[in-house]
Symmetry: C2
Subunit: 303 residues, 2 copies
Amino acid sequence: MSETFQSVAIIGLGLIGASIARAVRAHLPEVRLRGFDLDPDVRARAGELELVDDLAEGAADAVAGAELVILCVPVGAMAAAAEAIAPGLGPQALVSDVGSCKGFVASELRRVLPGARIVPAHPVAGTEKSGPDAGFAALFHGRWCILTPEEGADEADVARLCAFWTALGAKVEVMDAWHHDTVLSVTSHLPHLIAFTIVHTASDIERVTEGEVIKYSAGGFRDFTRIAASNPAMWRDIFLTNKDALLATLQRFNADLAALEQAILADDGVALFELFTRTAAIRRGIVEQGQDVGKPDFGRPSL
Amino acid sequence: MSETFQSVAIIGLGLIGASIARAVRAHLPEVRLRGFDLDPDVRARAGELELVDDLAEGAADAVAGAELVILCVPVGAMAAAAEAIAPGLGPQALVSDVGSCKGFVASELRRVLPGARIVPAHPVAGTEKSGPDAGFAALFHGRWCILTPEEGADEADVARLCAFWTALGAKVEVMDAWHHDTVLSVTSHLPHLIAFTIVHTASDIERVTEGEVIKYSAGGFRDFTRIAASNPAMWRDIFLTNKDALLATLQRFNADLAALEQAILADDGVALFELFTRTAAIRRGIVEQGQDVGKPDFGRPSL
């Protein structure tokens, strides 16, 4: 990889930034790593963990001389991060990010950094943990990273970023930014919206105590609480910046849920059985393509 | 345990029945196990796996002489199973079950088996796998088993069943059947209904291909597919027999989802952040009380 990037700057050292740092260390040990986080506590912890070679005291300082700059901040903070790095950005630097919405982020980066080399990216990977301690090198292994270059983007830049993510263990796909946002509204944003809602409903319902919800959560509810424990700021920003695609997908979900409710009201067991049989096929595809483990219960150890 | 039940009959040898058989073997080796399944293939497989000591060719035959009979069939098949065992049931036999709805099952068992000793039960445990091969002895370790005896039930029967489930590694709670159905509508039935719906929506939406849904499922969607891969007949029956509690809980969920949608439409980031911060607390309770593992991603190995 030394023919592509010799110096990489990571802005934002939470779960994703820290995981990129550890993955670079593991897979591209010759790369010089620079890093910065706006939060002094995170910065101090990143220093203790020795996540990067050079921990900067400012964003502009962190990107000085970097050939690749990756913004690993919540989507709503991308514009501010881009403004902060602008003074230090060299003409050779390729600017990328890891945001879960690409249309909004791409237009913000283009607005704030006119003339810069920009290739937005989204590694579809994560856990419910946040912060620098949560990062680990294998997070991107076998996961997809979606690049959403603008029309007319430099093909060499796209190829270099593709090689970078491939080196970190990811599989890379190139896609239109707005199509990305529709796809992810289905596979990620709506599931999180629903999970946050159901956890809220369960904690708020009068007829059942919170203690009961926790005790009997192994009946299905606990699986929703994992993704509803994800970073609140990150998800607030995703929902607000991918609003159109998300609400369109939500509308479909609401219609499907209403149809299922009607089938239950009508005692239509045949329709229910047929639907529940079809949904199992998607699970098989996900396991076969290595996007989940096939062991029961996610391979959870018996507690 | 020999002072409680010396002979146990299991009717239905799927995931739960097979797990009870294996758990009895592991924890109560002196118990004589009898078993039956209506499906000849399941019966043959149970024989190959040597799940029970005596594999019967009929339900009535299976329960002859048994001190505890556990019906491990879908909720909608309970009445038929109770009718089938009736001719073989001795006066000493305690009849129980493992169904996820207790109000409906209790009244069905009472109707079909007037005068019998009945203590309905629900072990809140399971995986997305079905069938005799999916059973394992540790399934109930640390999980709750809820007993819902009728008013006036024999306290000695309740105590014996409590001791049985405790021996299998479960924690036991006694509860009113209808309250059980409300609690489980929140912690199990609604989550499954939502998971089935979202997997259906994702597989059916025009703007996104099924291949894309599978590829990018690691963004959250895959967690829903696990519970939507559960036994279709079992879930059809649960939704139809716990309809009232389920639809009341669904109404709350729909109201909460509509409020969240409004907050997104109104760009109310403060409300979203506050809500998403609160939902993390329930997750902590579930992990602290041993109802889930605290490792990121359910402790899934990196793929």
